[in-house]
Every structure is written in C-alpha cells, then in structure tokens.
C-alpha cells in the first residue's frame, strides 16, 4: 500500500517547500503578490471562501499567495502541519495566545526569555486578563508546580535569548502532556536547522522571522507553526476556538473540519482576521529568499560563534562566557541533545570591568554593529542591561541573564578573524 517515497533533505526543503512555478506565467521565483485583494468568480465562490468551504485568497490581511509559500516553507522545515505568517514574532505570540486564552486564564512561561517577551507577558497580556506564572527551566519541578486548573499552555524558548541557555524541551513537553495543555516553543535563535522542537514534543512553534530565518536584517516578520500533535477535541470546552461551534463561521467546529492543521487555521481565520497583524508580501519574499540559504548560513553562524567564544574565554578582560558550544558549559550536554549541529550565534559574556566596560566596548567596535537585533549576516553587539532588558527590574535582569556586566553578541557571517580583530581592538581601546 504505502510507497517508499523519499523525504527531501533540509537543504532541499529550504529552497523548494511551498514553492511551485506560477501556474499562469511559469515564473520560477515566488512572485510578490503585492495586492490587497483577489477577485471572485461569482457570489457563490465568494461565499464559499468566506465560509471556509474552499481554499483560496480573499484579502491579504487573511491570506496572500506569497505569504502562503513562506508559511508552507517554515512548516515543512519544522515538520509541522501548517504555518501562519504574521507581521512580527511578537504578533505570532499574541495570535497564538489569543487562540488559546480567555480572560482569567493562566499560562506558564520560562523565565529565561527574550526581554521583549517578558515585557509582553508581564504588561500587555495583563490587559487581556492573561496571567503569566514564571518557571525556571533549570528547575523542571517549577514548571509542574506552576500549573493550575486555569493553566492553558506552557511557553519556552529552545535556545534562549540573550544567550547560552538550552531548554529541556522533551522534559517540559511531558509536563504539558500530563496537564493536557499544549507546549509552545519559540525556536527563533535555533531555527529548524539546529533544532526541531516538534520532534521533542512541542505542539506549537513560533518564530521571529526577523532574525536568522530572514537572516539579512531587512524584514520584520513572524510565523506560527502548527505541530498537528495536540488533540483539541479531547479537552472539550477548554479551547473553545478549536472545539466549539464558531458563530463567526456558521457554527463549524474547526478541529473537526481541519483535522491536524486546525490550530493554524484558527489562528488565521479568527486571530489574524480580527486582530490584523498581517505580513507584507514583500517582506515575505525577502524572508523567503533568506530562507533558501538557511542551512549554509546557520552552519557558518555556529562555526564563527564557536571560534569567537573560544577566543573570548581566553581574554583577560572577560570574566565568563556563556555559550553551550563550549565544552565546559553548563548547557553543553543539553546542546548536544537538542542542537547537535551547533549552539547558535547568540551568546553572552561578562566583562570584569562591569557595566562601564560593557558600555565602552559597544561604543568602540567598528565592524560589529551596535543595535537591537540578532540573526543578521552582520555581527551585532549590545549591552542588554542598558537597552533590550532596560525595562525589567534589576532582579529580573539578572534572572534573564542580562546583569550589568553582560554583553550579548550575535555573530554574523564575516570572516571570523575580522570579527575577532574588531572585538580585540574594542576591548583594548579606552
């Protein structure tokens, strides 16, 4: 019955998944469908599209053919069932939560996260009545303790910002499974090249495409991947967007109609449709172009970063380096399990000269760019305590790995000797 069909490799999928030559023109590269809307055949066709009875395009806020290629591309790379492109990683998080949470609900989140996510969870989500309970990824029991009957999901990062933390996805997925709730993994720093969280039990994966997937620092974007693994029907009423008849769509039950990609559909036709953070087709095109070289770029990122981390660990100005690729590192064993090809390009180190030394270094570098981003072809540097994590309390800063002496690097694709030379002159200059 079942044919033995080849599964394409990662590099092949990175170029081809989701993309077929344009039916009308034969164009090979994905066209940029820079259009807001799409014509209908007749009123019945329109009704079928609006009612989700047909697959097709209506309006770029809800779906766009260029964005669709990106959605399938990333879903295929992650091993998921479907994807949804949105305007930013933050938007991806909001749309996911909007599909799962109602006012008064709780969710458990790892305290080792990108500062922007910490802010989003601590502040904006409060306006919706979504309450975060923080847990420590270094203490798995803290996740279990944080789960209450009101908990709807768990949120972690695979490789955590600002760097050097690998989360034990499999162990946390067991906690989520036991509680009957989905596990969401932000896989931005790893990308599916280094780690595929769905293989380790994640139910939903989110990305800031802005970073390594787009890879060139030119387009903001976000993506949600449906793992297709969560049984929405099993906990009846807990996730009404998935399991209850939807009044917005004449009473259809999304998980019955769309099977194992129902979550992605819910995010699109309920969340994205009503909240509106659509990805520009032009951004999708640029991000797709970047995705084609993802395996090449990520490997070079990792190789360069290991060289820089090794060099820094021998410097007299440096107190410590936190990079899982280094053999003595606290997370080295987890890195071997979850990201065997490399530990990514983002890591932190501490300067013996503290806060002031950190500020001086970021001012002195001439090749590395001082800015708030990660995952560019260009090497980047930032002092999180004075920038990305500034709005956190001192205690939260330290908890998040952004204490006063911490410098974060996102190593790019330049010749590694040039990166090292720039850091050297930066460390030595007054």
């Amino acid at each position: 019955m079942a044919e033995a069909e080849r599964t394409p490799g990662f590099a092949t999928l990175a170029i081809h998944a989701g993309a077929k030559p344009d039916p009308t023109t034969g164009a090979r590269a994905t066209p940029i469908y820079q259009t807001t809307s799409f014509v209908f055949d007749d009123v019945d066709h329109a009704a079928a599209l609006f009612g989700l009875q047909a697959f097709g395009n209506i309006y770029t806020r809800i779906g766009n053919p260029t964005c669709a290629v990106l959605e399938e591309r990333i879903a295929a790379l992650e091993g998921g069932t479907a994807g949804l492109a949105v305007a930013s990683g933050h938007a991806a998080q909001v749309i996911v939560m909007h599909a799962l949470m109602t006012p008064g609900d709780e969710f458990v989140a790892s305290k080792k996260l990108y500062g922007g996510s910490i802010n989003q969870f601590n502040h904006s989500y409060k306006n919706f009545g979504w309450n975060v309970a923080w847990a420590d990824p270094d203490d798995l029991a803290s996740f279990e303790k944080a789960v209450t009957p009101k908990t709807k999901c768990i949120f972690i990062e695979s490789i955590a910002n600002p760097g050097g933390v690998i989360t034990d996805i499999e162990a946390i997925s067991k906690i989520a499974r036991k509680a009957g709730i989905p596990l969401i993994v932000d896989n931005t720093l790893a990308t599916p090249y280094l780690c595929k969280p769905i293989d380790f039990g994640a139910d939903i994966v989110v990305h800031s495409l802005t970073k390594f997937i787009g890879g060139h620092g030119n387009s903001i974007g976000g993506l949600i991947v449906d793992g297709g693994t969560f049984d929405w029907g099993a906990s009846k009423g807990r996730y009404p967007m998935l399991s209850e008849p939807r009044p917005e769509y004449q009473g259809i039950v999304l998980h019955e109609t769309f099977g194992n990609f129902a979550f992605a559909i819910a995010c699109r036709v309920l969340g994205l449709r009503d909240l509106g953070p659509a990805l520009s087709p032009f951004n999708a095109f640029l991000i797709l172009t970047g995705t084609e070289t993802l395996p090449l770029r990520m490997q070079r990122h990792c190789d360069n970063t290991l060289a820089v981390a090794q060099w820094l660990s021998k410097r007299p100005e440096v107190a410590w380096v936190s990079y899982p690729g280094l053999p003595g590192d606290k997370y080295h064993a987890l890195a071997k399990k979850y990201a065997p090809k490399g530990s990514g390009a983002v890591f932190t180190f501490g300067l013996k000269g503290g806060y002031d030394a950190g500020v001086k270094l970021v001012s002195n570098v001439k090749l590395l760019s001082h800015l708030a981003n990660i995952g560019d072809t260009r090497s980047l540097i930032i002092h999180p305590a004075s920038t990305t994590h500034r709005q956190l309390s001192d205690a939260q800063k330290v908890q998040a790995g952004a204490g006063p002496d911490v410098v974060r690097l996102s190593i790019g694709l330049e010749d590694k000797d040039d990166i090292i030379a720039d850091l050297e002159q930066g460390l030595k200059s007054k």
Binding site: A48, G83, A264
Partner: protein, 204 residues
C-alpha cells in the same frame, strides 16, 4: 489516555482504532496511491453526508462536486430530498448507477455493514474511502480481500487540496515538492488539477 499518532493526521485515542490483533498497514499512504485514486474515480457515493452546511461532510461533498466529481449523497434520513442539487438515496444499493468510490462519513463502529453492502453491489466500487478519524481494520481487510482499494482516516478534500496545491494557499504543509507548473482546473477561480506526480504519469 494513550494517543495514536498517524503521520500527517491527528492523534486519536487508542480505543477508536479497531486492531483485531493485526499489524496495521494503513498508517501512511504514498502520494502516488492517493493521486491515482483521485485521478481515476469519477462517481463518489458519500455515505453519512449531512444536509447541514457547516458539517465537514457537506464541505467535502461541495468541494469535490466543484472539482468535477459526480457526487451522490447517501443518508436514510434525507432520502428523496436533494443536497447541493444531488438526489439523496437511503442506501448504497438504491443508487441506480455504478459507483467508483464509497466515501464513509460515519463513526468507525458503523463502517462494517456499509462496506459489506458495498461489496454486494452489482458493480463493486473500486475504492472504499473512510473519512478523517474513521478507521475499521476489519472492514478494510474484507474490502481488500475482494480486490477493493482502501483509504482510511483521510479527508478527500484535504488530500485533493494537498496534491493539487490548493491547500498551500492556506499555509498548509502539502508535503509535496515539484518543479512542474501546476495546472488550473479550467473552471472557476483558484481551482487546480491534481496533476501527475513529478516525473511520472497520472496513475501514480
């Protein structure tokens, strides 16, 4: 409760599967197998179709009808009425024309008598197709023993959508890869043909 994960399809509780002690052969279907079926069958009888416009069976019926299949609704409660312009029959043996495929939209425990009836038809259908979430190994066994192809736990709308690339517009992982230009169906906006498998003919 233990869940069974079927690649490409949702997890279902173990009790929904009828094992009968056999090793399952229907975990995964090659695209060529599915494409061959959907490219070959012309007349499909859908047993268990609902007249309600928001039910998955109605969706699948409408979708396949629009793509040129001769669709025959079977539902004893709706016999004599019409759904989407097609006359509804009470049971398979009431249908006066030959059927290529029986599509079953009923719970797994109701499948066996339907398959047994299908196998008694004057012109046996070539395919028994059980909907997403529907699986009955005993029924599959007797159908296959009678030379009938079987598909279980799949939605023909989703499979057609996947293999024609239509589903890709919704960001769904079609799990296909081709450098060939997809062909439009020729009727309607955004309706695609199934197309041949890359580098092979239609029959797959």
């Amino acid at each position: 409760m233990p869940l069974l994960f079927v690649p490409g399809n949702r997890a279902l509780p173990l009790r929904h599967w009828c094992f009968y002690g056999r090793r399952m052969k229907h975990e995964a279907y090659g695209d060529g197998y599915i494409r061959g079926i959907l490219n070959t069958v012309k007349t499909i009888a859908m047993v268990g179709i609902s007249p309600k416009e928001n039910r998955p069976s109605y969706f699948a019926f409408k979708y396949l009808l629009e793509r040129g299949y001769r669709m025959i609704p079977v539902n004893p409660g709706q016999a004599g009425k019409s759904i989407l312009g097609q006359k509804v029959y009470a049971k398979l043996s009431d249908i006066p024309e030959p059927i290529d495929m029986v599509e079953i939209f009923r719970a797994s425990e109701h499948v066996l008598p339907i398959v047994e009836e299908a196998l008694t038809l004057k012109q046996k259908p070539a395919v028994i197709w059980m909907q997403l979430g529907v699986r009955n190994d005993e029924a599959a066994r007797i159908a296959e023993a009678a030379g009938v192809k079987v598909v279980m736990n799949r939605c023909p709308k989703i499979e057609y959508g996947r293999l024609s690339s239509e589903i890709s517009w919704m960001g769904v992982n079609s799990r296909t890869l081709s450098s060939k230009r997809p062909r439009t169906l020729g009727t309607g906006v955004q309706r695609m043909r199934l197309g041949p498998a890359a580098g092979s003919d239609n029959s797959g």
